[in-house]
């Protein structure tokens, strides 16, 4: 089920995995590293058992091709560290219309990725995704780290801008990691491979947004490159982050001025979001308020999407 196009000799590489999720934080971070280190394609997981086709090309009555979401491995030998990367365009699911991996298929795919880690005698696996939190999009995101073994805790505490679940107010070290990011930690633990999930913070009000959130991807890339001891130019990601921030500002301005939402509610949304500028731990607004605000913002995202579709 894994098709290799190369068989390089790698020395205890680390494997970095990215798959789609909120703000495309994981895929953007891992793909950025892949481009920056000029990683080469190693192989791919054959899609049929995991994914449905997402595109048909029919020319003059002839079914030319059917395309599937890709799940590809890449590699790079560097002076300091050999790297393996895995980037998937979708998370597999036994249930239709689920963004995050669910069920047997997801577990099978996680184990196929681990088979590759085993084959190349990987030292450690890193996964990356999003941590939805009550923060503001103008603040620098932190990176939540969850390892799959206790011995990694002390090491993680030494890194800059990393928080453990126990550092987050009200969590007491508890939490839940949805989808393949979580499943991978568990499956790797079962097979005695060290693994760490790094999640960049994204403001709760952007969890349904159609844009990537490169600011959080950048935070993850910084942590990863520091841990791995590799040096890459972060400026293109910074530029992208600046542009997305402008888009978010403009979107929020439109929302605050939208007459489709009653003035009182708009003021509440504005106050709640503004409040996020001065805090970076959970707790300033209640979960109920968060849900209510999200309802309005998501509705606005949908209207905007519909408007754009209409314009096409």
């Amino acid at each position: 089920m894994i098709k290799y196009c190369k068989e390089p000799e790698l020395e205890s590489p680390d494997l970095i995995c990215g798959w789609p999720g909120i703000g495309r934080i994981g895929t953007l971070a891992v793909d950025y590293i892949r481009r920056a280190v000029k990683a080469e394609e190693l192989g791919e997981i054959e899609p049929l058992d995991f994914f449905e086709p997402n595109k048909a090309i029919i020319l003059n009555g002839l079914l030319n091709s059917l395309e599937f979401p890709s799940s590809k491995f890449y590699y790079r030998k560097t002076d300091k560290k050999d790297l393996l990367l895995f980037i998937a365009e979708e998370q597999p699911s036994n249930e239709s219309a689920k963004i995050y991996a669910v069920g047997e298929k997801a577990y099978q795919l996680a184990n196929l990725v681990l088979d590759v880690a085993y084959k190349f005698k990987c030292r450690r696996i890193y996964t990356s995704g999003a941590a939805i939190t009550q923060t503001h999009h103008t603040l620098p995101p932190r990176v939540w780290a969850v390892p799959n073994s206790e011995e990694l805790i002390d090491e993680l505490k030494d890194y800059e801008n990393i928080v453990l679940m126990s550092d987050i107010e009200g969590r007491r070290g508890q939490g839940f990691i949805i989808g393949l990011n979580g499943l991978m930690l568990g499956a790797a633990r079962k097979r005695n491979i060290q693994s760490i999930c790094l999640m960049g913070e994204i403001p709760y009000y952007l969890q349904g947004s159609p844009w990537p959130y490169p600011k959080a991807s950048m935070a993850v890339v910084k942590v990863l490159t520091h841990i791995l001891g590799i040096d890459i130019d972060i400026r293109p990601l910074e530029n992208m982050s600046g542009k997305v921030e402008e888009t978010i500002d403009s979107f929020l301005q439109n929302l605050f001025e939208s007459e489709a939402i009653p003035q009182q509610i708009r003021d509440q949304i504005r106050d709640s979001i503004e409040k996020m500028k001065s805090i970076n731990t959970s707790g300033p607004i209640t979960k109920e308020d968060e849900r209510r605000i999200m309802g309005h913002i998501d509705e606005f995202f949908k209207k905007r999407k519909k408007g754009n579709e209409g314009a096409n």
Partner: protein, 271 residues
Amino acid sequence: MKEPIEVYRQPDLENASLIVGWQNSSGNLGSKVVEYLSRHLQARTFGEIEPVQFFPLNGVEVENNIAKMPFSRFSSGDRKDLVIFESEPPSFDKYRFLKSVLDTGEYYCKIKDLYTIDGIVSPISHTSPRRLWAVYSDGDFQKRLRDYELENITWEGPPTLSSFLLWLAQNRGIPGLSLWPEISFYLSATEDPKAVKSVLSFFNRRFDLGLDFGDLDSQIKTQNGNLALLRKENPEIDDYISTLEVGLSLNEDDQLKLAQGVTEFLEKMLV
């Protein structure tokens, strides 16, 4: 995982063509064509794909006062060269489902080719002729069928279940054709017997079935009569249809009004 195919009896088939009709397709076209063919061939079910792995069995749907269960059945009848598969489109694990269709087709029915039935909802009037669009799995098959006056589709986008099946068949070297008759958009929620006839006419010629379209012609006549009555009673509907008949298009609101008006009227006539 348990094998999802259950075959009750070995069908007596040689060099068969598999005809696939999906339930709940636009204008109920897949079911109508397959029902018609099954009746003509006196087809009996010989096997099925178990629903448990492919449908959310969290209850049953009630339709026309009767509880329904999703089904995916193979049947064959008088002809040794035709096998019919009728099913609801699976909700999940589509690859395994379609693989089971082809496994059954290859192993039990020795199929040589396959045909799927779908429908293209089109902004045409019910009085217009129905074009029959086609997607082929390979060029040779396309050449062999060039005398059938099928229109070639060119399209890029999300694949349908039939395209997925065609692609899987292609990988096994089984040629396939997906048939896409035009369905007038305001008949897509009820029935479009003219579209049904266009597909059946193709099969009639392709397999020399000797079909008698008397009952279908009578359905078309009845539907035309009902719509003529509606046009007489409702000048707004008449205007919309007349606009389509001269080759002009309707805006979204008018399309919706026409579709609603026709659907309500035809449903009332059926009661």
